[in-house]
Symmetry: C2
């Protein structure tokens, strides 16, 4: 019988804060004198808004982007007065108290939001500045061409708004050869020429790697800070892995060829094998889509630098691994790792994107922040 | 321009606690005098351990299952001394303090865990009882045949363990015609005949609908309490929907035929259309896999009982909907609903299972508990 080691059945999410700092500084080095803001929305992509934003502050970051006013309030409490916080999803009537109370700058995406912001700030002393977001072709949030023309002709409204940033967002930056990049760059230049000079920003992480013309006065990386490859190749050298999910081996079993494993018996052992049942599942962020069936190879975990394949369906709290290749080494209580430097690889196994894998990780885990 | 209504940009997760109670009582009615335990692992499938377990307690539930000792401790604090709490992932050396401190009953899955539990409890006054989990064919956690024979012959060990429940878990219960169900039932009967009489339990939600022979003295539903269809048909009548994700329309746009939408420009408008950009994305639990591309229809949301399709890739904080069919009604600030009674439908759209959709919902959302 396998030796029982000292372990907890609770999984661990290990987050390397020094790697986040290093990733921030690598981007700062790449863009020279351009300011590097940080996207910390969705709880810093699931890694913890407070510790992540504090380490970014320590690395010199003074501009942050969140999605909602509630995220902005939590961020303000974490990093203090000395930073700019932009709220991407714009001002909303019921969020005005939060925006004013925590001095959060809304990103204005439409004439409706512009009018709301003008009305809300009229007569308010030291109301927050705001950003203008121009939709240059992604067709998501942002001023479309028609509404942008209305804004650019309306000088009094521009003055009342108090604009300190004009931005847009790239749709296809991970693919450097995509014609959309140049189309958006040109559209952004044309549009910003019609507004008074202020800080301009176009690039997310992948945009940073499109080169100098895309940097303007500010870049706004997110995924690149957290170790996710934003492009398939260009950022790999300078990006360090940040996050590892660790689960303990709870049981080791011998399975005979022909036996089925897991829910709905979708996986049949093709040979006699040794499996390890690990205490981490989709509630911890290992996606069901990384399951293995008789017709589809699944994702994998890492045990002592060796890949071990997922077999059967990933369940809520448990994942079964084929550990036949390491069955002379692996014991109950040992930890196996998911993610780490394989985020891109995993997301393609799982039919999703590394961003989504990140935000889904580890709600139930013990969090182990490396400093 | 669309009228701006009073709204927040933060999404809302609406959880109907009275529906959870109703679902519990419907299962209790179905199984007669059999006890109905509740699976509340993974933060009650993502819906909130404390409010959910309290409402289940109010409905009469006195037996709960969690995955880890940490979950058990939080549950004990919520529901008090008067309930049994089983920890499915078993005892682990570093979790013993939690197990003893909160009187949590570990589910013993192997001889290694049995020996650990005997050693840990020897000489301890009023140590918690434990459950024995027999693997009857799922090949996940639980005593395999060989180890179970060791246990069933070892009467002194059985006495030392303090067993008050013998259980197994069904692999294929959603499919009533699957031969695995009968195989597991027979194996469970054969195995339990070798142990002293105690409470026996085999059925999860889907097992409840396999009929009386599967009920024994206790059933352990999870997904059925939370409104997820555990079977494709049989439980639909008695299960009420529990959870709805609501996002606000932040912007409405006219898109011309031939324009692309969202990241990587994977969706091209086939006709002129009206789109709504909604403030909820995959960080809120709308899976990336429910995105729509030029070759794949995506998931949908509900606006005033009408389906509106997702177009383009779901992004972290935003989802784009084709609202052409309702563009005379929909306005900025209106809320659209994801999930609700369509959990099964959505999960098949998204290439996953309703269980996973549930646990991923709404970490960032305001939570609105209906009582």
């Amino acid at each position: 019988m396998a030796k029982v080691q000292g372990y907890s059945a609770r999984p661990t999410l290990r987050i390397d804060l020094s790697a986040i700092k290093s990733n921030y500084l690598a981007i700062q080095k790449k863009v020279g004198t351009t300011k590097v803001a940080a996207s910390v929305k969705a709880d810093a992509y699931g890694l913890g808004l407070v510790p992540v934003s504090k380490v970014l502050y320590g690395a010199g970051c003074r501009i942050f982007f969140v999605a909602t006013a509630g995220e902005g309030k939590a961020l303000r409490e974490a990093v203090g007065e000395n930073v700019s916080i932009y709220v991407l999803n714009g001002p909303a009537p019921r969020d005005l108290t939060l925006l004013f109370g925590s001095y959060l700058k809304p990103v204005i995406n439409s004439m409706a939001q512009a009018q709301m912001w003008v009305e809300a700030t009229t007569g308010v002393k030291s109301a927050p500045f705001c950003a203008i977001h121009i939709d240059t072709g992604m067709n998501r949030l942002g001023f479309d061409q028609e509404e942008f023309q209305m804004l650019s002709r309306n000088k009094p409204m521009q003055q009342k708004l108090g604009i300190d940033l004009v931005m847009s967002h790239l749709a296809c930056a991970p693919d450097a050869a995509h014609p959309m990049n140049k189309t958006q760059l040109d559209a952004f230049r044309r549009a910003t020429a019609q507004l008074p000079m202020t800080t301009m920003s176009l690039a997310n992480t992948a945009g940073v790697y499109l080169g100098k013309p895309y940097h303007f006065q500010m870049v706004r990386p997110g995924i690149g800070l957290y170790g996710g490859g934003a492009t398939t190749q260009r950022d790999k050298e300078s990006t360090m892995p940040v996050v590892t999910l660790l689960g303990a081996v709870l049981q080791i079993k011998k399975i005979k060829a022909g036996q089925t494993l897991g829910y709905d018996a979708t996986y049949t052992a093709k040979k006699d094998m040794t499996v390890a049942i690990v205490g981490a599942g989709y509630a911890d962020g290992i996606p069901v889509s990384s399951s293995a069936t008789d017709t589809k190879k699944g994702g994998h975990a890492i045990f002592r630098k060796q890949h071990v394949q997922i077999v059967g369906r990933v369940s809520m709290d448990l994942t079964i691994l084929d550990v036949s290749s390491v069955d002379d080494q692996i014991e109950i209580g040992h930890q196996v790792a998911f993610r780490g430097d394989q985020l891109g690889l995993d997301s393609s196994d799982a039919g999703t994107i590394n961003y989504e894998l990140l935000v889904r990780l580890g709600q139930r885990c013990r969090r182990d922040y490396l400093r």
